[in-house]
């Protein structure tokens, strides 16, 4: 028995396996090389190692020798670029965050003068660009490069895209099929221009909409831009109500798993929520920005609760957030970024105790937000310990 098995296993006596699939190699395959030094590792393993480094470490490593230089340049230039023309992103040797190790951060508006992007895998975002001219220029620049293997994953279209810009997008349509994330700012002129882009973003999985229309915005009107069945995540920011209620919204995207609604005004109260079945929705987040938000906690949570009930047991509240009242909002937006806790003390106190009283209803509720600050809910301790504010007892 053992002999026959061994006979069969001859084919599995393999040399270094360079792919993740199991490969049957014949018995004449070479012996694995003895790898007693860094240099003896094959390129694919060295590349895996380099993938864990931030760009500063990659640059230092690239100077070690010519082989490492070549591999490091592959990471620096041919993959994962992140353009941040405004608002510099800190690049520091000790920063090894997900972003720092996965993206090369370029803190200016110009491309590195190498023009060697032909094997680029990802340019993460043409992002933070404040005008369509910037985007236009960027796209124009990109268009001059060779795109065969280029895959643009994330695109943000900001306010006032001109028709020229739309034309430019349309010209590049065959290169935009890889886009997975699209962020659209929708105001009236923008919507008119964007309607010309039908069918271009059919690969999109994640959609962020910033809606600034004066009237109710019919979300279904932009569906032809996408393939609604493919969309798994939607984030909507609006200071108006949507034409669709939340349930209808979910129905428009049958495979949606995550829905985040920010700044929705309280217009849903009279809507009857139809029963919802077969949803794949797993995460729902409602972030309220309303001048009376702090006094309407129960109202908003009622909305969420209705939705939770409709969506079945898989959907559970994990976060509840709100902005402070208008008066405080003005202070907070105009002033320093730190909250003046004295000003909002009463609001936070109300919120914390409101949350505490309802913890048993929402077993998955794990944090709440106030303004842009998130507070973790530790059910083992008293609410006064959820927020660290010295000398201040809730």
């Amino acid at each position: 028995m053992v002999c026959s098995v061994l006979q069969k296993l001859q084919d599995f006596m393999v040399g270094p396996c360079t792919t993740k699939e199991v490969t049957c190699l014949n018995s004449s395959a070479s012996l694995p090389e003895i790898a007693s030094s860094l240099e003896s590792l094959p390129d694919e393993i060295l590349s895996q190692i380099i993938d864990h480094l931030n760009q500063l470490d990659v640059v230092d490593l690239s100077l070690v020798n010519s082989r490492l230089y070549s591999l490091c340049m592959n990471k620096l230039y041919k993959r994962k670029l992140y353009f941040v023309p405004r608002g510099r992103t800190i690049i520091h040797r000790k920063l090894n965050t997900f972003t720092h190790t996965n993206f090369t951060i370029v803190n200016d508006c110009t491309f590195p003068q190498r023009g060697n992007f032909k094997e680029s895998v990802i340019i993460w975002t043409i992002d933070y660009l404040q005008s369509n001219i910037d985007i236009y220029n960027k796209l124009e620049g990109l268009d001059q490069m060779t795109f065969e293997k280029f895959s643009l994953l994330h695109l943000r279209l900001n306010r006032e895209p001109s028709y020229d810009f739309v034309d430019q997008i349309k010209k590049m349509a065959n290169k935009l099929g890889h886009i997975r994330n699209v962020e659209l700012l929708l105001d009236e002129p923008n919507i008119r221009a964007i309607h010309d882009l039908q069918g271009i973003f059919t690969g999109v999985r994640c959609l962020a909409l910033r809606i600034y229309t004066k009237e109710q915005f019919p979300l279904h009107s932009i569906l032809p831009l996408f393939c609604p069945e493919k969309i798994q995540e939607i984030q909507i920011d609006t200071d108006r109500c949507l034409h669709e209620n939340l349930i209808n919204l979910i129905k428009l995207f049958p495979n949606i798993e995550t829905l985040i609604v920010n700044s929705i005004s309280p217009v849903l109260s009279n809507e009857s929520l139809e029963p919802l079945s077969n949803t794949r929705l797993q995460k729902f987040s409602l972030f309220v920005d309303h001048e009376y938000a702090i006094t309407m906690v129960d109202y908003y949570i009622g909305l969420v609760k209705d939705l939770l009930n409709q969506c079945g047991s898989t959907l559970q509240l994990v976060r509840f957030g709100m902005y402070p009242t208008t008066f405080l909002e003005v202070d907070l937006f105009c002033g320093p970024k730190k909250i003046d806790y004295k000003e909002v003390k009463q609001d936070i106190r109300n919120l914390v105790y409101w949350v505490k009283e309802r913890l048993h209803e929402y077993p998955r509720l794990s944090y709440f937000t106030f303004y842009n600050y998130s507070f973790f809910i530790d059910r083992q301790v008293e609410p006064c310990e959820w927020i660290e504010i010295s000398g201040w007892e809730l």
Binding site: V14, P32, E39, I45, L63, V64, N96
Partner: protein, 166 residues
Amino acid sequence: MARPKVTLVSSDGETFIVEQRVAERSITIKSAIEFAGVDGLTADIEIPLLIEGKVLKKVVEWCEHYKTTKFPEPDENQVDVLSRPPVLTKWDNKFFRLCFEQDMMFEIIMAANYLNINQLLHVGCTTVANMMKGNSTEQIRELFNVPNDFTPEEEAAIKREDRWTK
């Protein structure tokens, strides 16, 4: 009836008798076992491997340690760069530190690649990367004993070229 044992035989003749689930941490070995007995293993088997005994011993040690751990399956739909790196446990750190001291770290990484033990390979790569982090070029050369093959002019040119990264 006792469960069949898997005997891993190193290139220098050393044998390691392990449970099937330990051996099957390696996708390559798992495939070999499946190939040998489609309906499951019914008898002990020997699997010859082209790995030195001292290295295979460490690999088996790692597989034994994680024999019951269920590692997350790689998400095929997720773009590789978006997948999170594996978390290094204290045990992993100690394991690889010892391997490095014994001059075996790279051989283990190669063995993990050869045997298709993804988690071990990822942890090994992460460990090497962690050793590089924060070190200057000269320190990396010294730590890993890599000679410099650049001329001073080439080195200066690269430094100039990469200024934008900082």
